[in-house]
Amino acid sequence: MPLDIAKFNSAYTDARDRVEREQADVATQQTHLRTLVPEDATQEHRDWAEYLIASLARPPAPPRQWSELYHEAGRIQVAAYQAEGTVEEQIAALREARRRIWEIADRAAEDEAPHIRAMTRSMEHIEDGLRNPLWPQDD
């Protein structure tokens, strides 16, 4: 019987939440998850499930230490979010902020640059939301 990936993933989400939020017993959660892995599941799926099961016992990763460039980009993002004015003015502020964040990312370390650039991922969608509200009659 193949592993029910969606069912396992959902159960893993529950288990992770119980461990992190309710300090549930890790071994108990791991035992439950193992019952969801059929004996004859493919080795690939068994490895995947066991990777997730084992991850429950790992301590959370320490908070990442970001450089000043990352924080500078964050401040630019927050300032753009707070821009007032017409829709066009808000869009212009977001665009300018995105341009500056891209520039900062170009100067950042290789492992940090993608996360600085990613700050523009939400800004891009906010621009789209301003241009094309889902329910225009609601404004």
Binding site: I5, A6, N9, S10, A11, Y12, T13, D14, D17, R18, R21, T42, E44, H45, W48, Y51, L52, S55, A61, R64, V78, Y81, Q82, I91, R95, R98, R99, W102, E110, D111, E112, A113, P114, H115, R117, A118, M119, T120, R121, S122, E124, H125, I126, D128, G129, R131, N132, P133, L134, W135, P136, Q137, D138, D139
Partner: protein, 375 residues
């Protein structure tokens, strides 16, 4: 489709890799809706990703997403790959659900739901990225910082309030990922009901009780929370928690005092009654009707009122930071046209049986309409 940006050829290795990843994302949280038409657009250098509400095309940055879809990468780049996969999970979540629920009494068809939907898509992306990366053969990747900081924090806070022994976070995330987006708060309300009120609320009263629980979730900050820092999202979740606890107490007291009396509450979608009377088309606003996804027509066409896309719908590379689309098609984008497999992309492909589901039904080579309304 964004003006001037190229479609990725369906025979290209990177197209096939994206398609595989897209379906793996849907395998982790299955949904009956699929708004992606199969058109993949190589986005400009200063964008990440989006789903076009009108055409059903998915646009992903060639530089920041597509070029990193090459499986476990011994050359480094784990941070880039983590962001690329997070973008795919986020956009796959949007594409996997309808936005509206015209006939549902508890649907919220208001623009504040935009931020709720972004928060849900990002929470889902962050929750699934470790499982997704390993399942897809990309190995263990760093979990990137969540984007949409305030909506992410607010939805994460609401999930904590709605989760419990009868409906856990996994079940709620499954349901939220199925959508429709307009029913996200109804789903969270159901979590509260099942976990905290199931012993007192009769089955027949559950819709009305969920409506009562949605009310405190409609925090005024939702309308502009997308433009705020994560601390605001946490504050919104705390505000909601106080009001939600009060509503839960009120409902419990009501059923203790009047066990046979339904709790008085009306759903937020007053139009649902009109639809039930057969007046759906007369009641619903025409714009954006393409968001109401029909299972038989996942890629709804243009606006039903025949209006032209608004100024600003046309988003191109030049408009996004001074670089023209043509500049993005230089040597760094040749991989989009070639058929040489991206290194490692085919090295480890679980046989899930869904990798091409729906793809054969999609029109080959059809270009999406111009004009974009993106999520």
């Amino acid at each position: 489709m964004q003006s001037g940006l190229p479609l990725v050829p369906r025979e290209a290795a990177v197209y096939r890799e994206f398609e595989r990843l897209y379906h793996l994302a849907r395998t982790l949280r299955p949904t009956a809706t699929d708004r992606w038409t199969g058109d993949l657009v190589a986005g400009g250098t200063e964008s990440w990703g989006s789903v076009d509400r009108k055409s059903g095309a998915i646009t992903l940055s060639a530089q920041h997403v597509l070029r990193h879809l090459r499986g476990s990468d011994s050359r480094g780049g784990a941070d880039q790959q983590a962001q690329a996969l997070a973008t795919i999970l986020h956009e796959a979540t949007h594409a996997g659900m309808a936005l509206e629920a015209p006939t549902a009494a508890n649907a919220v068809h208001r623009n504040l739901m935009w931020n709720v939907m972004e928060g849900v898509a990002e929470v889902r992306a962050m929750a699934d990225i470790p499982a997704f990366a390993v399942l897809a053969g990309y190995g263990e990747l760093p979990v990137p910082p969540p984007q949409y900081p305030a909506p992410y924090s607010a939805i994460d806070g609401l999930l904590k309030q709605a989760s419990g022994p009868r409906r856990g976070r996994g079940s709620l995330l499954d349901a939220l990922s199925r959508g429709p987006g307009a029913l996200h708060l109804d789903e969270l309300a159901d979590g509260v009901l099942q976990n905290r009120l199931a012993d007192v609320v009769p089955v027949g009263d559950q819709q009305a009780v969920r409506a009562a629980l949605i009310e405190p979730m409609l925090h005024p900050a939702w309308g502009h929370i997308g433009k705020m820092a994560s601390g605001i999202g946490e504050s919104v979740a705390r505000d909601i928690q106080i009001k939600l606890n009060s509503t839960v107490d009120e409902i419990r007291q009501h059923y203790r005092a009047q066990p046979g009396q339904p709790f008085p509450a009306e759903g937020p979608n007053a139009e649902a009654a009109g639809i039930a009377d057969g007046n759906r088309l007369a009641v619903l606003p025409a714009p954006n009707a393409s968001d109401r996804v029909d299972r038989s027509a996942p890629a709804a066409g243009g606006r039903p009122d025949g209006s032209s896309p608004e100024i600003g719908d046309q988003v191109d590379g030049a408009g996004r930071g001074g670089r023209t689309p043509a500049e993005g098609r230089g040597s760094e984008m040749r991989f989009l046209d070639g058929v040489a497999p991206a290194a490692g992309a085919t090295a480890r492909r679980p046989s899930l049986g869904q990798g091409t589901r729906g793809a054969a039904q999609r029109a080959k080579g059809r270009r999406p309409e111009s004009g974009v309304e993106r999520e």
